[in-house]
Amino acid sequence: MSTATLDSPPAPADAPIPTFTVTMMVRRFNPEVDEEPRWQDFDVELYPTDRVLDALHKIKWEQDGSLTFRRSCAHGVCGSDAMRINGRNRLACKTLMKDLDITKPIYVEAIKGLPLEKDLVVDMEPFFDSYREVQPFLIASGKPEKERIQSASDRARFDDTTKCILCAACTSSCPVFWTDGQYFGPAAIVNAHRFIFDSRDEASSVRLDILNDKEGVWRCRTTFNCSEACPRGIQVTQAIAEVKQAIMFGKR
């Protein structure tokens, strides 16, 4: 294992961009062989603008094809590659090497709180189960001839929570979720919020009842991990607070 070194001193703009060698510490787990996860280090040559996803691809494609992780769009919209990078939940495709301290090894492991399947892959089913439980779809009576009318300000009311890509970075950063897997978790609440505050929806009271459960919003201890983890910049903790307010005092 080596520490990171710049191969050459800073160069003028038209010279080739310098690469550097980074040590990636990846928490491996092969369910067909390993009893317990183990850390493995890989030295990878990278550009400053490379993403952690590029580093993982370089390992998989050039060193060890068995390294397993999910990815698809590679620019932060599909939500496949949430993982813990240096202890923080991030999308691997939105985390650039230049924004990490490359003088030290970069630690990469699976998100916490969901069953580990292999290397960086976890079982997403419990996460999607919680999502499905909050009735994440518009419930509205009648079939209008054209569109339902909604003012621009009513549309803006729930804009923030429409951005969710269901990557699970928030839910799997939540200490309550780590210790109590029954808790709905921030992502499910965010998706309930998206409909509770949609002026077209008629079932907010149903969702508020669901979230008033003992495993609902009251488990949130406002540690703000979720808001920090969200790769879409959703104010998750605020959304949860708004749902709590709506349960107590009605929607505003």
Binding site: T68, C78, F128
Partner: protein, 599 residues
Amino acid sequence: MTDYADGTVVEGVTYHQHDVVIVGAGGAGMRAAIEAGPKARTAVISKLYPTRSHTGAAQGGMAAALANVEEDNWEWHTFDTVKGGDYLVDQDAAEILAKEAIDAVYDLENMGLPFNRTPEGKIDQRRFGGHTRDHGKAPVRRACYAADRTGHMILQTLYQNCVKHGINFFNEYYVLDLIMVEVDGQKRPSGVVAYELATGNLHVFQGKAVIFATGGFGKIFKTTSNAHTLTGDGVGIIWRKGLPLEDMEFFQFHPTGLAGLGILLSEAARGEGAILRNSEGERFMERYAPTIKDLAPRDIVARCIATEVREGRGAGPNKDYVYLDITHLSPAVIDAKLPDITEFARTYLGVEPYTEPVPILPTAHYAMGGIPTNVAAEVLSDNTTVVPGLYAAGECACVSVHGSNRLGTNSLLDINVFGKRAGNNAVEYAATAEFIPLPDDPTKPIRELVEMLRNSNGTERMSTMRKELQQSMDTNAQVYRTEKSLIEVTKVIADLRERYKNVMVQDKGKRFNTDLLEAIELGFLLDLAEVLVYSAMYRKESRGGHFREDFPKRDDENYMVHTMAYLSGDAHSADAGDHIKLDTKPVVVTRYQPMERKY
């Protein structure tokens, strides 16, 4: 011939039975599922979790002549689609697309899609390339949108409604084969074979009707807006079954990908007023398309950008890109209408779009060609013969509503209109059809493929081969093509197909073996690249997304026809000419005779 009840496990293979089997859970697949699910026993099989599908990366909007903000009608939309596709569009299909667009948008709104709104609370609309008022007189506001994440909102809304309807998903199941059985002298689908990523087990999904909605194959190119997973598996399966592929030479290069990365920056930026500039700061599109300038269709803008760079007016230290300039728009407008793409520029290039122009270059974006279907989304086995029970919709299909160049916002439309048609027609078909009995040991070819790869002692790294393919496709079969460049890439593909027989798979396990699946995906990429290049060699003219420098004019006399490619002979022979047979298919012309395409 055998049939197994749903859930039967025989020698490790699980057998399933559904009336409608949908392969792919992007926009087209889920739109089909919303029709099929409530009316027939439906399974949706997807290699990804549905919300990971690349529909979610679409940004700018979905075209429909709602006329919410200015005069518009579906006939103008039809004309723009036909002209945008450089007259290779089947005009009956384009008319259906434009007419049904209006209900398709209302359907989505009624399902909950949060469109941006006008001051009166209606769906807001904005300009987009090639969409015009009254047959080309000026740009028109036709694109319905939700900020610059319209595709995200469509994907989420469709998934939400699938949850509402309790649609049965099989996530992270890779469909690797279509089972075709001869009935009354014609091959028909009996089901599909899928590989379950989590376990490595095989599944057979027997279905009365099968819908392919498997998306595109942009990963044959190096610079692409497409996801890593867009490897054309569905199109490749159809090809290997001996069914034709249509218009494969027509691939769209989107003008504005982030330089060096290919990440899409929506045409919505230009719809909102962004300007393309060269190294001299010149608004160069004024020279090429004096009427609609930066809002010319994508094929034209992409070629203009490539020309500016070739002629030495590229920007940057290596003069190898141009700029997309939105610095004259207010930060409030940018934040409200283009929030995501400005964040991409900040995150990946460290450029602040409020104050700096963004380096861009064309990026491989969309396959106009694919699995030929009629307007009922039924797959064709030649120019006219329907394969009963087999449907295709979305990017994998070629109806053809996009001809040789798709207009922006017509693909989100396509998946909704033809996804819905596929779903409804599959249900109707399944209502009276019987299951076609499975052949003996239906998983044998896939089992052998998987075992061969897993146990191989191959030495060829797939990443090296994939990179060589992508690099050569970018160099030789991108915006500009010549006979010489196409011959060059043909040689590269032939070499890679040979080396592929010795591909290395390091992961020997059964669980979550993505190494093995990447090897299979590379096989599909090589097959499809070969068909694309072979079709491009044949078409000695320039039309839409296919530009031959050695034949720079459109040639309606000889090439106003669709290309139909068939696999025949030994699929593994070295020379493409030994196993690809080309034919042509007439273009459906109803209202519009071909004219010179000027903007």
